[in-house]
Symmetry: C2
Amino acid sequence: MKRGLSNSASDGVSFTPLVVLELVEDTKEEAVTWLLEKIRDKQENGGAELLVGRLRKDSWGDDGGNPNVFVVGASRDRLLSGAEDVGLVKESNDGSMRGFTFVNRNNFKDFKGDSDEFLSVAECQYIIKHELDTLRAKEENSVPGYAKVKLYPGKSILRRLLSKGILVQVFPLHDKEELKKLSHSWYGKLRLKYQPLDEIRRYFGESLALYFGFLEYFTFALVPMALIGVPYYLFAWEDYDKYVLLALFNLVWSTVVLEVWKRCCASLAYRWGTLCRKKAFEEPRPGFHGVLGYNPVTGRQEPTFSSLRRQLRVYLVSVPFVLLCLCGSLYVMMIYFSMEEWALRLHEEEQSVWSSAGLFVPSIIYAIVIEVLNRLYRYAAEFLTEWENHRLESSYQNHLILKVLVFNFLNCFASLFYIAFVLHDMKLLRQSLATLLITSQILNQMVEAFLPFWLQKRRNTKVQKQVRRAPVELPWTEQVKLEVDMSTYLGTFDDYLELFLQFGYVSLFSCVFPLAAVLAVLNNFTEMYSDALKMCQVFKRPFSEPAANMGVWQLAFETMSVIAVITNCALIGMSPQVKSCFPDSETQLILIVVAAEPHTGEVEEVQEDSSYPPSFEPARHFTHHRQRSSFLEHVLLAFKFILAFVIPDIPKEIQLKLARLEFESMEALKKKKMQDTKKLEKQDN
Amino acid sequence: MKRGLSNSASDGVSFTPLVVLELVEDTKEEAVTWLLEKIRDKQENGGAELLVGRLRKDSWGDDGGNPNVFVVGASRDRLLSGAEDVGLVKESNDGSMRGFTFVNRNNFKDFKGDSDEFLSVAECQYIIKHELDTLRAKEENSVPGYAKVKLYPGKSILRRLLSKGILVQVFPLHDKEELKKLSHSWYGKLRLKYQPLDEIRRYFGESLALYFGFLEYFTFALVPMALIGVPYYLFAWEDYDKYVLLALFNLVWSTVVLEVWKRCCASLAYRWGTLCRKKAFEEPRPGFHGVLGYNPVTGRQEPTFSSLRRQLRVYLVSVPFVLLCLCGSLYVMMIYFSMEEWALRLHEEEQSVWSSAGLFVPSIIYAIVIEVLNRLYRYAAEFLTEWENHRLESSYQNHLILKVLVFNFLNCFASLFYIAFVLHDMKLLRQSLATLLITSQILNQMVEAFLPFWLQKRRNTKVQKQVRRAPVELPWTEQVKLEVDMSTYLGTFDDYLELFLQFGYVSLFSCVFPLAAVLAVLNNFTEMYSDALKMCQVFKRPFSEPAANMGVWQLAFETMSVIAVITNCALIGMSPQVKSCFPDSETQLILIVVAAEPHTGEVEEVQEDSSYPPSFEPARHFTHHRQRSSFLEHVLLAFKFILAFVIPDIPKEIQLKLARLEFESMEALKKKKMQDTKKLEKQDN
């Protein structure tokens, strides 16, 4: 907008291009005309009232290229009225956040009538996307020129075109100038500072800004954990009390961190206007299919699919399939361990260079197999979730995330659980944990950022060469051509998954390998930079997605922290370093006071059986400890839940503001009612 | 309303009396006049626009009685406009539930213009109470005649009068005719049938109807539990597998029952219009005091109290006090057990009649002490919660319920826990459980229903004698006089508490005493009758309270069911009947397959230590079992949470209806916006 890139497209219309539409190369011209007509038509006639222009064919250079690339823009007033349609929430002049309305536009802060500062480019693009998505068929039965691509009244045209492969992609354009500013303040200077979350949000939208906010928050939250871990690692503190202290700290830490994040998140979401934003009615996702019927809520015509059938698919096919995959993954793990054992035996027998090299073979094979399985499973999960035929994009996402999460969790941590609770080999556990954590971190950074960056660089130079040969050099047409071929950012899923697994490495076995937090902190500092680089340089700009929280990931992290309490308590309970169990330290004293009953009971029970020789003593202690750690676990979990319950999810200040908004709307309603009644009375008289 | 009791009060006004206001006998006449003026004044002038009349003094008979008893009523239109103020939700002509508005009153089902069927008497009384409560001071600084009873603009007059003791009570009148019908269909015929929940709701309001709904639901839900418990009791099945099966059943049962109740509750609340009812802004409770300031939400003048100070009071005084009380209760329990032991020893030494009678002394003393402690604690809890100075009635209630709940839980179950996990005496546990359950049930029924019933009967005859001597016999003035002296129903707290403790008896140690469910079922059938009797005959009619669910009690029951899983698993784990631990049955086989890892680990760990003689075997089994039961616990708890997560809280059908309502209001908003924009465009042209 501000960059003043207003430029004439091939058909002479002059506007700022915001969003790119790419149709397949051989799209029939009548369909193109029809679509453009629809996009340009007035809203009263069911159009989107947007501006659209075709990219000039000659600007592609000699080798042609797709002639069906269009850029879409909109007039300022259209964008403002669209802002009301999508339910944008903006700061009003009295400092509170209110749903934007075109009528009251002058009551909003930063609205100066003629300036474009009010709506960010990302918001404009989001509005255009929303308007394009809600472009609905009226009386057409099919797309002109494509008799097979059926339409019915109310069907979203773009979604149908997309699902039928006529529309290749819709994406927003980067804003070179703003991007430059953003990347400068984001990762331009290599020094420690907070991320410019508000600017990220302005450019990429709330969902991504929240991810970066969480990444930063989580990294800082790991610092105390890392600091506490260092002495444990350096001095190899391995006695019971110190373990319990560490577990206790870990528990309080993870609970408080997740609760405080909720509050931070609410503050951010309030500032960004997504917290009190009313959710619009969710349309069926593009891939949803079924018999044409009437939606019971809207009364509109749309595909219907019995929810019983979906549930049958979920519980009778998907759940068993996932369980089978989990068992398969466990089986592979068992094979790995027996291969490991076999390699070790071979090495012990032969003691040759070959056999010692062979020691690494099982690990390498296992790592490759895991990677392959993860990918195969991901495809299977996507296929299955697609087949489950969810009506809403959100429930599709939730089902997919859950499937992938469970499998990834098992793949990453099953071997660690096996080593910890079956092999009881703490040394091996520590070693495996370190290896897994470090390799996964390095691999991730490579695959995620540097590889695509390098690929993109190569592609860019290729396209630039092409463009240079073109006769007319329009800066934004060049930009469109560059961006059409950039890879698409698939959402925050993989980024969150990575953090989730890292959280697992840090918290699940924190007693055994307290150094994990240090590694995680180091990794996250570079991760912030590489993720920023990736977003700014490698991918197409993603559409801004309004989000008020992490959604299902909050639940995932909280579940992980519960599992962490259980595993840590189990580790403490079976720790072989536990030598004495009578109150010889303060921590234990406290614990035994609390846990007096089961402790006494245990002693009595054992002592009743007088046939045990004195050598039984150690086992008795062992039993004590197990029982105490089980009791400890219950106390810790109860404490955790109480803590989570006591910390309010939304900061007081914001609660007040929200309550104030609600109160005002109630008062307004009351006033209106009074007026209505008066009017009625007048009519009666 | 329908009973046509319209009658002229002393000052000649003719209307149906609905609510009674009782001021203290020596209220200054100027205050009375002022109050009546306020109640009668038009709404525009800040009045309540209600009808009010004083009870004639001569109707009290010779011995006088309070001259300051007033009855309040309202015109039909005033009630309808009040129904909108309180946000009543009614079924509209198209079958959906909508917030009632006076303007659209003809769109509602059952609204026939001239009939009173539309609003139930309970609703009318609720509306009048709401209008009285929101009667606010304007420019008065104090109540006329009482310079010390300060007022400020916006202060609720009735609340101030109540908190200063000038207003004795406000209560709704019974409706003899409807009550007769209700009691006939409720408990008139002694045969098994569903309770008339809709009629109860119509007469007593949603909160009470939900309690009776839950009581009935819970009783029926206990039946399968009771049926399964009988063979366990009869055949004394005490082996591991059957215990596990029972525990598993118990777990699934309690989870499903509580989840399904949520759904039933939602259905009922939808039908009664409380599910989609918008909560009005909550006013500060009468007892709330503080420096006069401005409410940050409403901007109105009201007392303010720093939430930090309140939290300090809660965490630094209340929480330690409650913990101290809990410890005190535990200490009393320990004294009881040592007295018990001492009495037993004495009896063994002396073997006299006196000593055998002395065996009962500790139990009797303990029971009395517990009862006294419970009462003392209740007062202390009320005092403390009052002192914490909560702004809202709801948060006051929650804090009070939590305090009382924790203490009652410990008092009731601590001795059972002690017997189970310290004394390991399953026989004693069963015996104590049975004794406690039966005595508490009998005592409750006595204290709760029959005693007040008898007292009320005595009082009634006394008043009737008085009335008969009166010169003029007005049926409803007589009724008012009868009801002024009836005891006040203090809400569903004690009733829910009783059910909660019963749920504890049934589920916590269900493995040990499966017969508890049978006793509970038998008790609840009589409980339904006695509670109904109590509500209809003993107490003043309570104001109807809108409620969409059980509130904090749902959480309490769910917490109890989690604790039940833990205790049952612990009981199984330490059960001395567990003799074999290798896979000799199908249940175990499954469990061991699941629990393979820790099981194997345990064996290895023990076997590594080769110094143990063979006699160690039993202890090893014992350890196995403990560990397996701990693993079982985790699996069961995980299963429980997944189950609770998978069952949707609101039935699909109602979800759809709610979504439809929301969608419609969104569409209406959109339409309004379009109109506004068009208007604006016209103005611009």
